[in-house]
Every structure is written in structure tokens, then in C-alpha cells.
């Protein structure tokens, strides 16, 4: 059965309680799903975001790249409302995440799928129950329907046969696909992928890559990826943001950005060890640290 068939069938069973997943009810008519304006966050005295602006287009695959420690995962947490910035605002589907009540925030989160770097499957439950978890928590569907839905989502990620396995019995790639099935079980409007390719062998990587693309193309789910794998991003992303020092330093579609000659993109896409991203962690003068006095350089 082709993916398209399954998802076509699935769409008749859409049962999201909140209106947000329903494209008809989308409040903003513009093409931006997530709008970040002037986001400033200071964590432990370190400025993570410095008046960050970003527009994530609806229905596209957007990749966020940047050196380690620039707060890409932190940005995802801002979008889901787990963290709040010190200034600025984030609008998801027209709603300001930071000011939402807990109930409204939870309602919003039902429309967001999140794929954790380490999958975060519930170790108590088998694969089936993991995927069924959001359904059981938020709906009172009959068991038969839950079963059908879960098996179809598992089929979509190619793991229907693994329904009875426990998370500890899964390989990293399989666990990530199960987590993906769980993330899409409610047919969200937005999926956030946190490092979806890390630690995967080329086969598993391509499987995940294919899933991201398929989910985006067939269901029109807006996807946001935080990743480093340039080749993979070139294949899948429609739009790339390059973040460094708390600001967007470059953006555009992958090919233009790669061709752009700025020092940031040169270093990042060219893989140079030194450049705008310093090789040295900020430190005092080496000579002084080693005990030489004066002008040793």
C-alpha cells in the first residue's frame, strides 16, 4: 500500500479536537506558520538569542542550522512554549505562545508533533501503546478505532510488524520511526524534528529522510528540522536558516545559501575548522595562562 493511500484513508478519521489542524480554520491567511519577532533570551548570563527574527513558511520543510551551542534546540523549545524568551514574541498560527494559558498551550501542542533526538519513547509501554498514547490521553475513541489508527501510522513508518516490541528492543533508527509515528498520530499541522539524523546509519537516515519528505508532501505538514547533515538537508529542505551568535546570519533555499559567499556559509557548508565560528573557546591570553610574562604571542 502506498503512503498516499494510507494517508488519504487516514484523513477521513481526522479527529483533532482543536481547530488548529484543520486548514479551513487557519487564522492567518499569509504563508507563515511560525513568526519569531525580536526574540531575546539570556540563559545563565549567556545571550542565546539576540533579537532573533524568523519566518517559518507554512507547508514547507524548513531546516535550522548553526554551530553547536547556538540554541537551535532551545529555539524549538520556545516554539512549543516549554521555554519563554526574555523579550520578543513567537506567534504559532497567529497565537502568541508566551502569553497562552496552560490549557490553550496544551491545545496548541496537540497540533504540534515533536521528534526528540533520543526518541523519548515511554519505556513502560510497547510500541503500539507508545503510538496510541496521545490518542488514549486526548480522545475517547473505541479500542477498534485506536487499533486501526495506530496500525496505519505504524505501517506508514514501516514498523507495523514491531507493534508488540518494547522500546528497549528497538534500534535507534526504529525508535526514531516509532517516535515519528507517535508524533503524527494526531495529524499535526507542524512537526519539529530535533536532530533527526544523528546516530543513524545511511539506510536508516534515508528512511527517515524519505518519511520527512513524504509526510510533508502528502499531508502538507509544516516541518522544521534542526540538523547538521548538509547533504540530507539539501535533499529535503525548502528553506534554510543559518543561526550564529543569536541571529540569523543567512537564509534561503539550500542551493542559494550554499552558493552564497559569506564567511558563515563558507565555513559551515565548506566545513572549515576555523572561521567566524572560532576554533578556540573564548579564553585569556595563552602566554599568561602558561606563565610567560609579557609579549609572548
Amino acid at each position: 500500500m502506498a503512503f498516499a493511500d494510507i494517508f488519504g484513508y487516514l484523513q477521513r478519521f481526522r479527529m483533532m479536537p482543536s481547530s488548529m489542524t484543520d486548514p479551513v480554520h487557519a487564522t492567518t491567511d499569509d504563508s507563515t506558520l511560525v513568526r519569531v519577532r525580536g526574540l531575546t533570551t539570556v540563559l545563565n548570563g549567556k545571550t542565546i538569542f539576540d533579537a532573533l527574527d524568523m519566518d517559518i513558511p507554512r507547508g514547507k520543510v524548513t531546516a535550522i542550522m548553526g554551530p553547536s551551542g547556538t540554541g537551535k534546540t532551545t529555539l524549538l523549545k520556545h516554539i512549543t512554549g516549554q521555554m519563554r524568551g526574555d523579550a520578543g514574541e513567537i506567534l504559532v498560527n497567529g497565537e502568541n505562545v508566551a502569553t497562552l494559558s496552560r490549557e490553550r498551550l496544551f491545545a496548541l501542542r496537540e497540533g504540534i508533533g515533536y521528534l526528540f533526538q533520543n526518541s523519548a519513547l515511554l519505556t513502560d509501554y510497547d510500541v503500539f501503546e507508545n503510538v496510541a498514547f496521545p490518542l488514549r490521553q486526548h480522545t475517547k475513541l473505541p479500542e477498534v478505532l485506536i487499533r486501526n489508527l495506530v496500525l496505519m501510522k505504524l505501517q506508514a513508518v514501516g514498523l507495523r510488524g514491531a507493534a508488540g516490541l518494547m522500546p528497549s528492543e528497538l534500534s535507534g533508527g526504529m525508535a526514531r520511526r516509532v517516535a515519528l509515528a507517535r508524533a503524527i498520530v494526531f495529524d499535526p499541522m507542524l512537526i519539529l524534528y530535533d536532530e533527526p539524523f544523528v546516530g543513524l546509519d545511511p539506510v536508516a537516515l534515508n528512511q527517515v529522510l524519505k518519511l520527512i519528505r513524504t509526510l510533508n508532501r502528502t499531508l502538507g505538514i509544516t516541518s522544521v528540522l534542526v540538523a547538521h547533515e548538509i547533504e540530507a538537508i539539501k535533499q529535503v529542505a525548502d528553506h534554510v536558516f543559518l543561526i550564529a551568535n543569536g541571529k540569523v546570519v543567512a537564509q534561503g533555499d539550500p542551493k542559494t545559501i550554499a552558493a552564497d559567499g559569506s564567511p558563515w556559509t563558507r565555513q559551515f557548508f565548506g566545513g572549515e575548522a576555523d572561521g567566524p565560528v572560532p576554533f578556540q573557546y573564548p579564553a585569556g591570553d595563552l602566554g599568561q595562562a602558561l606563565g610567560f610574562s609579557g609579549a609572548v604571542k
Partner: protein, 286 residues
């Protein structure tokens, strides 16, 4: 899938049931609730001269079998006696009218209960009836005396003869305490009195007639069985050819040791002679 969920529920249910069963067991089988009488019963009265430590809800037993409990304890109107109402199970309604109700103690330190020994009457005691024959609670001292055999020997076996001895201090020696020779009970203490003139204690002992060859220069001493046991009179035979007769007095005595004296003796050398002198010489010290 939904299988493990229901098995958890069943297992958890079993656990909860087990927990409550344990609680019910503790509450009903091991507490005083177990003594609360249930079911039909009838009430019988009994008057006792002394009820000792008898308490409400104390068991009533026949031949060691629990048949009921004490319902209430009061003073009988106009009498120097306790009026005890017994609530007895309807199943045991054939108790003869001339049965004897006694107050016993379960074990040495246990609580007291009422034991009923059947009489021979054809009439049975009815609801609201009275058991006329009763035995009051025994004082521990008297019981102990009996327990060590002296009383039994003296009472039951063909007569005793009486001798007396004077002690400067009898400690906690009480009536009924055994009199022993070579550790064997041969009699019991009958009376402990203070001599108003000499200001010492005169102990009268009843000794079994079988033991009539005790030399008259034997010594009597008040000893304690073990560290915290009861006290008794020990007789150490002398060498005289004459023997004790009814009414004789033992001249050589050793008084009860006070713990303080004992420790003093232990610590200070040579004080033993002084203390024995003081015990042999009745003085007004005490």
C-alpha cells in the same frame, strides 16, 4: 495492548483485597475486639469478696473454654462485695446452679478471668440468675505460696507443727511463703508480726509433721529466689541431738538482705561479721 492493563487491574485488586484482609484479621483477631461478645447471650450475676484486677470484658471460661465475658462490675448494694455481671453465650445454658465462679489469673503476669467449675445440681442457672458459690481473686503472694507447694503440703498432708523465729528484718516475706530445707519445701509461713516490745519481726511457720527431726539449733534465714524472685525462709540444720517441737523458737536467724546491704558487703571487706551480728542481736535499728 489492552491485555496488560486489565491484568494490572486484577493484580492490584488482589493486592488491595489482601491488604484489607490483613487489616481485618489484625483488627478482629488480635485486638480486644476479639473479646467483644457477639450473638445471643444471657446474664448471670456473681458476688465476689475481692475481684483483684478483674476488668470489664474479661473472659469467662469453663474448663478453659471461653463461654462469655464480664459485662459489668459494680459494688453490690449494701454489702462489702463486688457485684459482677457475666454475659454468657446462649449455647452454654446448662450451667448447674451450684457451680463455683472463681477469679483466676492467666499465667503469672496475665490478666484475670472468671472460671466456672460445674457443680452437681440438676437445676441450671437461668437468665438473671445468681451463682451463689464464688471464690475471690487470690493475692499474688498467697498464690505464690501455694505455687511453691508449701501451702499444699501444710494443708493437705496430715497436720503440721508450728515453730517461730525472730528476724530484725524480713524484707518482703509474706504469709504463705514457703519454708525450705535443702531447697525442698517443708512448710509455709503462717504469720508475720511485729513484736511491740522488742520491735523485731516474729515469723510463725507451719512445718509438715513428716519433717520432725529438725535439730533445735538450726538456723533460719530469709532468702530470695533469684534476683527479683519472692522471698522464702530457709532452714539450715544444726548439730544438736534435740529436735524442734510444736511451739519451739529458732534462735539463730539471718535477716533478709537489703540490696543496699548486699552491695555494701560486696564493696567493703569484713563487714559481713558486723551485719550478721546485727541480725542476730535484735536491736531497735529498724
Amino acid at each position: 495492548m489492552s491485555q496488560p492493563r486489565s491484568s494490572y487491574a486484577v493484580g492490584t485488586g488482589l493486592f488491595i483485597v489482601l491488604g484489607f484482609a490483613a487489616l481485618a484479621y489484625l483488627a478482629t483477631q488480635t485486638t480486644s475486639i476479639a473479646n467483644v461478645h457477639q450473638g445471643a447471650s444471657y446474664t448471670v450475676e456473681a458476688h465476689f469478696a475481692n475481684i483483684g484486677q478483674l476488668k470489664d470484658r474479661a473472659p469467662v471460661k469453663i474448663a478453659g473454654v471461653r463461654v462469655g465475658q464480664v459485662e459489668s462490675i459494680g459494688l453490690a448494694s449494701g454489702q462489702d462485695a463486688a457485684d459482677v455481671k457475666l454475659s454468657i453465650d446462649k449455647r452454654y445454658d446448662k450451667i448447674p446452679l451450684d457451680s463455683v465462679a472463681s477469679i483466676y489469673t492467666s499465667g503469672l503476669l496475665g490478666d484475670q478471668y472468671i472460671g466456672i467449675e460445674y457443680g452437681h445440681s440438676k437445676k441450671v442457672v437461668a437468665d438473671g440468675g445468681t451463682l451463689a458459690l464464688t471464690k475471690p481473686a487470690q493475692q499474688l503472694e498467697a498464690m505464690l505460696g501455694k505455687f511453691f507447694g508449701a501451702g499444699g503440703v501444710a494443708d493437705n498432708l496430715g497436720g503440721t507443727y508450728t515453730v517461730s523465729a525472730r528476724f530484725s528484718n524480713v524484707g518482703t516475706l509474706s504469709v504463705g511463703a514457703p519454708v525450705k530445707m535443702a531447697g525442698v519445701p517443708i512448710g509455709s509461713v503462717q504469720a508475720v508480726q511485729v513484736d511491740p516490745v522488742k520491735l523485731d519481726a516474729k515469723v510463725t511457720m507451719a512445718i509438715d509433721k513428716r519433717y520432725n527431726q529438725i535439730p533445735d539449733d538450726s538456723a533460719a534465714a530469709v532468702f530470695t529466689s533469684g534476683l527479683i524472685g519472692t522471698q522464702y525462709v530457709a532452714i539450715q540444720p544444726g548439730g544438736s541431738p534435740d529436735v524442734l517441737k510444736n511451739g519451739s523458737q529458732l534462735i539463730l536467724t539471718q535477716s533478709a538482705m537489703q540490696l543496699e546491704d548486699l552491695i555494701g558487703k560486696f564493696l567493703v571487706n569484713g563487714s559481713s561479721s558486723g551485719s550478721s551480728k546485727s541480725s542476730n542481736t535484735p536491736s531497735g535499728k529498724h
